[in-house]
């Protein structure tokens, strides 16, 4: 268990020490990622043996511990973050070199630290540990967001810190301390710790504080930081702002729902009905905004905002199908969205184009990239035979179980909207009849380290369709009574 936290930190140190030798430094980054993925994989064996057995690092105050433990959802998140880190670090090498980015050492160091924070979040045994690593993650990603050092990047960095700190300190920390005064415990336990400890208005306010306080989940109206963070280099947008950071947010929401409130409590009291509708509103509004975005990364960012709320919706449904669908969507959406961001980055590297309106002919010039983009899009939309279809299926089942028919409609409409904002990109790239490129130099596929990862992740989307059953079995203990 200690390894998964220590490996990325040691990796960050090695990267920093090797700053004068770029080749070794980049190799260190990939090796660290592979080691970490291996270490996380090796933990799966222990999962069944001793779930929730806390490994205490130290005690801050009596009863307030920094402790870690294993449970299926955290395992899923850790596997996802560390597995995709391997792919992303290869991609990053291609992207950062092709783009001639500066401060590459700082970039890789902060990246490794962010992953370390993600591991801390994944395995946190209590809310305090979760909160600490949540804040570490915010700080570690700040230099990545402001990487370019331009006026726009610095402003985006301020927005990023402002939203994330304001929500986490003002709302989340408030909720955590309140929980502590109510229950004298912050531990994550199956069935929750709040049942019987508090009454309705208190619980309702607490749920709101948690849902909005976890700003990384980008629930409207606290979503503005995510599109702003898109000024960062593409690997950051890909891994962090489609997977590690935002998934950490929804993961925290899921964890709070499962292990602090307990789905029985939410289900029996109907506390979370309002949250379903806030999430549904976020899904629809963010999709509509995405339609209007011309910048490809901004469009994908709003799509992420919308898709994250699927997961929150799943948590808020507080029934077996909803929670499992939401948890599966953490995985499915990650593969789909990281593919799309990889493609966006590859296009930027190869053609320096970032706007959807400029993308005519790109499909013929970069066929592999755009095919991957198509696969990723279809997975996000939720069409078989791609992974995204399963999580939407379970979410719709959950909405039916909860007898919330309007939500079923929202889920279906949102799929249509995602067709409307994703497929035109592909359509334009392959079929648009615009003026032929006249820049002088021929556009062709991005370097191999950029293309290979996006092939891997798009293959992953396909693969997950056929192995969704295993994922379901793996997550099933989450909702066992």
């Amino acid at each position: 268990m200690a390894f998964v936290l220590v490996i990325p930190i040691i990796g960050a140190l090695c990267i920093a020490l090797l700053r004068r030798r770029p080749d070794y430094r980049d190799a260190a980054s990939v090796i660290t990622a592979v080691c970490l993925f291996g270490a996380v994989l090796s933990l799966i064996a222990q999962l069944g043996v001793k779930p929730f057995q806390a490994w205490v690092l130290f005690e801050l105050l009596p009863g307030l511990r920094l402790a870690f433990s294993l449970e299926p959802l955290g395992m899923l998140f850790a596997l996802l973050a560390s597995g995709l880190w391997v792919v992303t670090s290869i991609y990053a090498i291609g992207y950062m070199r092709a783009h001639h980015e500066e401060h590459q050492t700082r970039f890789y160091v902060c990246f490794a630290l962010t992953i370390a924070a993600a591991m801390g979040i994944a395995f946190a045994d209590n809310l305090l540990t979760l909160f600490i690593f949540y804040e570490v993650m915010t700080l570690a990603t700040y230099p990545l967001v402001t990487h370019h050092g331009t006026e726009r990047a610095v402003m985006a960095g301020r927005l990023y810190l402002g939203y994330l700190f304001a929500t986490s300190i003002g709302l989340l920390l408030f909720a955590i301390i309140w929980t502590w005064t109510l229950t004298s415990s912050l531990d994550f336990r199956s069935g929750g710790i709040l049942a019987g400890k508090a009454e309705n208005p208190t619980l309702l306010i607490l749920l709101a504080l948690y849902a909005f306080g976890i700003g990384k989940a980008a629930l409207m109206p606290f979503h503005r930081w995510l599109p702003a963070a898109m000024v960062a280099p593409a690997p950051v947008s890909a891994l962090l702002h489609a997977v590690a950071v935002v998934k950490a947010g929804v993961f925290c929401v899921m964890k709070v729902v499962l292990y602090v409130f307990g789905i029985d409590l939410l289900h029996d009291t109907g506390l979370s009905v309002w949250l379903m509708y806030v999430a549904a509103a976020t899904i629809v509004i963010a999709s509509l905004i995405a339609l209007a975005q011309d910048d490809l990364k901004a469009r994908l960012a709003y799509s992420t905002v919308s898709q994250l709320s699927y997961i929150i919706l799943g948590a808020a449904l507080a029934n077996a199908a909803g929670v499992l669908g939401g948890s599966m969507h953490i995985l499915m959406h990650a593969f789909g969205k990281i593919t799309l961001f990889f493609c966006a980055g590859a296009i930027a590297v190869a053609s320096h184009k970032t706007k959807v309106s400029e993308m005519a002919h790109i499909g013929r010039q970069m066929p592999i990239t755009m095919s991957a983009f198509l696969i990723g899009s279809l997975s996000i939309i939720g069409l078989p035979p791609l992974g995204g279809s399963w999580s939407k299926w379970y979410l719709i089942l959950g909405a039916v179980d909860a007898a919330q028919m309007p939500l079923v409609a929202v889920l279906l409409v949102s799929s249509l909207l995602s067709i409307a904002y994703l497929l035109p990109v592909v359509g334009r790239a392959f079929f648009a009849s615009g003026p032929e490129q006249s820049h002088g130099h021929e556009i062709h596929e991005a370097p191999l380290p950029c293309v290979l990862p996006l092939c891997v992740t798009s293959a992953g989307c396909l693969f997950l369709f056929f192995f969704a059953g295993e994922v379901y079995e793996f997550l099933a203990p989450l909702v066992q009574r």
């Binding site: 130290f58 005690e59 909160f131 610095v154 003002g170 920390l173 408030f174």
Partner: protein, 502 residues
């Protein structure tokens, strides 16, 4: 033998050394002697703390009370030093910060003050410290007044010595003198009322004699005067007007002690009077002290932090931040429950470490750059990595980021407010943290993300004799954020002691 006289020795050692100072020559001798004296005091306070605290001997034991009648004149007629769980803790803070800051002083003072004045500086410096130590131990309200004035007069001098770097220090000093004297005057009037009603000045004696007199108008009036007088001394909003100039223009090490320790001693006297002399019943049940302080503490946190955001000078930014931090302490005081008091007391400890550490960093910057404008810090993250890391770590503590000691204080304060059902106050504490994010980040962004100006291109890391002491304080503030059992344990013991007094 010596163990029995510790309370007296803690004050007398720096006092006597202060008197010797002026006959010493130039050079490092005054500094060396002052450092020895302050470390001797610190060592003795540790011993005293172990004697008093139950926590350090055996968790089951209750804290002891040590009474030391000066010159063996028995109380209530003689003057008494009285050390219990509360002031042993405060004493530890005062002595610890003084010792580290004095250790740091050599280069900073030599830089800020002409050589022929250095020995007088150290003389006033030690008088200041012994005054603060004395106030903390005094078991007699009139003596509190006398010792407050001793330390205050010394500090007016010390602030004025900032004039060699910035003439505005004189103005700051005179403002401080006028307001400080008014505050002390209010305090003295309050003491006079209490004396006229009870005929005693000893705190323990006052406490028993005041019990039947809680409806007495004179006692209520006395309390009002004492509260206002002490609010000036601790710079509680809106009586903080003197603080930014005094702390902003004084020599850096003076600011470190003023902001880290001196205002906390005023806060301590407030705790002492409210809980052990007048009693919780009188202060919080009979009089509306709670709501009044809630209001002013809230304003202190919000206005202090907001004003800090607008500062362009690092030292003034830190000074306004202190106004806000005093708000936290007052807030914990006014909650009058265990978590709230623990939060306030542990914040006295934690904030002393952070803010003194940050002023030492400001001193290093002044030593290297000769100014403390925030704009001048551009790009120093690479030039002075250790100093700037200390600045960042201390700043994170002011925000209350987890794993810094500021987080521990805020945890207790928010818990205390929620325990009382005062949710808006819990929110105010957190909003204060958010404002702190802005004023700290403003500095960090310039330090690390703005290219260095030409004048800063040749700047190098400061000498270790300056960086090391700053890191002792900042490092301690980080340590007590990771393992808070000692600091919060002692604070909790003191809080329980206070609540058991009525």
């Amino acid at each position: 033998m010596i163990r029995n006289h510790l309370p007296a020795l803690i004050v007398i050692v720096p006092l006597l050394v202060a008197l010797v100072m002026p006959v010493l020559g130039r050079g490092d001798k005054p500094w060396l002697l002052a450092t020895l004296a302050s470390w001797a005091s610190f060592a003795m306070t540790i011993v005293l703390q172990v004697q008093v605290s139950g926590l350090l001997r055996n968790p089951a034991a209750t804290p002891a009370i040590i009474s030391y009648p000066i010159g063996n004149w028995q109380v209530p007629w003689g003057i008494e030093f009285r050390v219990d769980a509360l002031n042993a803790f405060i004493l530890l803070v005062v002595a610890m910060i003084s010792a580290v800051v004095t250790f740091y002083a050599r280069l900073s003072v030599a830089h800020a003050i002409p050589p022929e004045r250095v020995r007088f500086f150290y003389s006033a410096w030690l008088l200041f410290i012994s005054g603060l130590l004395g106030v903390t131990m005094s078991g007699d309200v009139f003596n509190v007044y006398v010792l407050i004035e001793i330390s205050a007069l010394a500090s007016y001098t010390l602030v004025a010595m900032g004039r060699y770097q910035n003439r505005k220090a004189l103005q700051g000093s005179i403002n401080y003198l006028v307001l400080g004297t008014i505050g002390a005057g209010f305090f003295l009037i309050g003491v006079g009322y209490l004396y006229s009603v009870t005929g005693t000045l000893n705190m323990a004696d006052l406490s028993t004699r005041l019990e039947p007199l809680h409806d007495n108008r004179a006692v209520i009036t006395a309390f009002a005067f004492l509260l206002v007088g002490l609010s000036v001394k601790m710079a509680l909003f809106p009586l903080h007007g003197w603080l930014p100039d005094a702390h902003g223009y004084a020599p850096p090490i003076v600011s470190a002690l003023l902001s880290g320790v001196a205002i906390k001693v005023g806060a301590y006297i407030m705790f002492r009077l409210a809980f052990t002399v007048l009693g919780v019943e009188f202060t919080f049940a009979k009089l509306p002290t709670g709501p009044v302080i809630w209001l002013f503490a809230t304003l202190a946190i919000l206005v202090g932090s907001y004003t800090a955001i607008q500062q362009t000078s690092l030292k003034r930014l830190l000074a306004y931040s202190s106004v806000a931090q005093i708000g936290y302490i007052a807030l914990g005081f006014s909650l009058a429950n265990e978590n709230g008091l623990t939060g306030a007391l542990v914040h006295i400890f934690n904030h002393a470490l952070m803010k003194s550490g940050l002023f030492l960093v400001a001193g290093i910057i002044a030593y290297r750059l000769g100014e403390s404008e925030i704009g001048a810090l551009a790009g120093l993250g690479r030039k002075m990595p250790f100093t700037m890391a200390a600045l960042t770590a201390g700043g994170l503590g002011l925000i209350g980021v987890p794993l810094t000691s500021g987080f521990v204080s805020k945890w207790y304060l928010v818990s205390g407010a929620i325990d009382r059902g005062l949710f808006p106050l819990a929110f105010v504490v957190l909003v204060g943290s958010m404002l702190a994010v802005i004023y700290v980040w403003k500095v960090v962004e310039i330090v690390y993300f703005r290219p260095a100006s030409d004048s800063a291109a040749k700047v190098t890391e400061a000498p270790w004799s300056l960086v090391f002491p700053a890191w002792i304080l900042v490092g301690a503030s980080l340590y007590f954020g990771i393992d808070a059992s000692l600091s919060s344990g002692l604070a909790q013991e003191a809080a329980r002691f206070l609540l058991s007094q009525s």
